[in-house]
Symmetry: C2
C-alpha cells in the first residue's frame, strides 16, 4: 500500500463534487476511513461554509479540506475556511498565485491545486502549492483540460519536483490506484466512484443509474450551465442528454430563464429550480 | 520486467503504422530487440506483401507479424501472410469472426485483434483470438473508440479471461508500461514512440516535429481521408491542421480530386499524390 499524502494515511482523495454531493457526511466518511476528504464548498457564502465545516467536525476529529472554484468570487467562502482552520483547500479552474498560497499557509491551510495541463501545473509549482491534482479529460464532472490522464500525469510528475501529484480521472479501483503510482503519482482523486455511496448527497435514482452506465456512455459537453458558466463537463449520455444533442440549436442553446423549469432541488439550505 | 506475450521476450508491440512507416527495417529492429513487431501491410496486394515479409526475413530470424485493416478487402494481403507463414496477424477496424480466426490458426498464424470498446473485445473473445489490443482514444493515428485507456483497459481485462490484453494509447516509457501492467495488461503497443527512430519510414521533418510537440498539441479529427475512408485519427495540431479547422467547411470538405495536390510521396513501390 502506498504511503499516503500530506500526512493523510491513504493517498485517496475525495473530489469536492458540487453542488453539495460531497457534503459533510461523505467527507467525514472518507476522512474516518483514512482518506483525504474535500468538501464541496458553498459558493461565496461565509455562514453556510462555516456551518458545513462544523458539521464535519462533529463527525470526525481528523483533518479534512474543502474545494474552491476560482472561476467565481469565493472570498467569503475562503474566509470561512481560514477562520475555521481546516487542514486543506483544493483550488480549481483558475490561477492561485504565490501571494494567495502564502496567505493560505499563514492560516495553516495546505493548498491542492487541480489542473488539466502541464502549463497550469508549472504555475502551481511556481506558486508553491502543497499538492497538484492532475485531472485527465476522462474525469467526470467539470473537466478543464483535453488530455488523457495516461499522457498528462507523467508529464506533470516530471515538472512537479518534490510536490506530490495526485491523479484524477476514471480511477475506480485498486488497479487504477496502482497504475497512477506507476505513472509517478502519490495518490488518486476519486469523484464518481464516491457518488455511488450511502453518504453522497445525490439522488438515489442517479446513484442507481451510475451503476448501469458503462465507460462508453459518457459525453464531454458544455451544454449545461451556459447561462452562468460555460464550461466542459463529462456527463452520462442519458436519454435527456441524447435528446438535446440531436437538437439543431444544441451548440447555441442557453439554459437561461426562457427555458422551462423541469425540476427542483435543494442545495445546502437554498432552494433551486 | 514483465514476462512478454505470445512467446515473445518483452510485452512491447510495434503498432503496424501505415502507410509503410512500420516497414521492414522498423519491424526487424523491434523484433531483434525482443519485441513483437507488426508490419504495416500493403493494402490487398499479394506481391508487395510477400516482398515486404521477405525483406524482414532477411533482417531477422525471430517471429514477427503484420497488421490488416478489416475496413478494406485485404484477401490478397492475407493470402500472402498465410503463404509466408509468419507468426502473427493483427486485425483492426472491423469484425474477424471465429471462422476466420480458425483459418488463421490452421496456417499457424496467431491473431491479435485491436479494439476500442468492451463490446468489440467481447466479440474478439468469442472468436477465439490469441490477444486483444485495447486501444484508448489517446492513441495516435486511427482511433476506433472514444474511451480513455485508463477507463477502457481494466474493463476489457475483466472480460478477456485467459486471453492476454495489450494496452495501446499514449504509452511512451517504462512508467506507461508499468501502469498498463497495473491495470491488468500483459503488454503495451507503441506507435508514435517508434516513429522517432532511425528505422521508421517517416520523413525526417515529421520525426523532428514529433519531438517538439506536446501532449496538448494533438487533435482527434475525421478531416483526412474522407474521400476513401472517413475515420477518426489523432494528428498533430500543425499550422496546416489549424488552418483547416478554422475553415467554414471544415466539417464537410472532402479531400477528393477537386482539391489541389500539395505533395507527393512513395509508399512501398507505388507513387501517390
Amino acid at each position: 500500500m502506498a504511503g499516503g499524502i500530506l500526512g493523510v494515511e491513504h493517498g485517496i482523495v475525495l473530489a469536492p463534487m458540487g453542488a453539495d454531493v460531497a457534503g459533510p457526511e461523505l467527507v467525514a466518511a472518507v476522512v474516518n476511513a483514512g482518506g483525504l476528504g474535500l468538501l464541496a464548498s458553498p459558493v461565496n457564502n461565509y455562514e453556510e461554509t462555516v456551518k458545513a465545516i462544523r458539521a464535519i467536525k462533529k463527525l470526525t476529529n481528523k483533518p479534512f479540506g474543502a474545494g474552491i472554484l476560482l472561476q467565481f468570487d469565493n472570498s467569503k467562502t475562503i474566509k470561512a475556511i481560514y477562520d475555521e482552520k481546516i487542514a486543506f483547500m483544493q483550488v480549481y479552474w483558475g490561477e492561485f498565485p504565490k501571494e494567495k498560497v502564502d496567505e493560505a499557509h499563514k492560516h495553516g491551510v495546505k493548498i491542492l491545486h487541480q489542473v488539466g495541463s502541464v502549463e497550469a501545473a508549472e504555475k502551481a509549482v511556481a506558486a508553491g502549492v502543497d499538492c497538484i491534482i492532475a485531472q485527465g479529460v476522462e474525469a467526470g464532472g467539470h473537466i478543464i483540460g483535453t488530455v488523457s490522464l495516461m499522457a498528462l500525469l507523467p508529464r506533470i510528475v516530471d515538472i512537479a519536483g518534490n510536490i506530490p501529484v495526485v491523479a484524477a480521472g476514471s480511477i475506480t479501483d485498486a488497479r487504477g490506484y496502482a497504475a497512477a503510482l506507476a505513472l509517478g503519482a502519490k495518490g488518486v482523486c476519486l469523484g464518481t466512484r464516491f457518488i455511488a455511496t450511502k453518504e453522497a448527497y445525490a439522488h438515489e435514482y442517479y446513484k442507481e443509474t451510475l451503476l448501469k452506465y458503462t465507460e462508453n456512455q459518457t459525453d464531454r459537453t458544455d451544454l449545461y450551465g451556459r447561462a452562468s458558466w460555460r464550461a466542459y463537463v463529462r456527463c452520462l449520455t442519458t436519454p435527456f442528454h441524447e435528446y438535446w444533442k440531436q437538437q439543431p440549436d444544441y451548440d447555441t442553446v442557453v439554459n437561461d430563464d426562457t427555458q422551462p423549469i423541469i425540476g427542483h432541488m435543494t442545495i445546502y439550505n437554498g432552494d433551486k429550480e
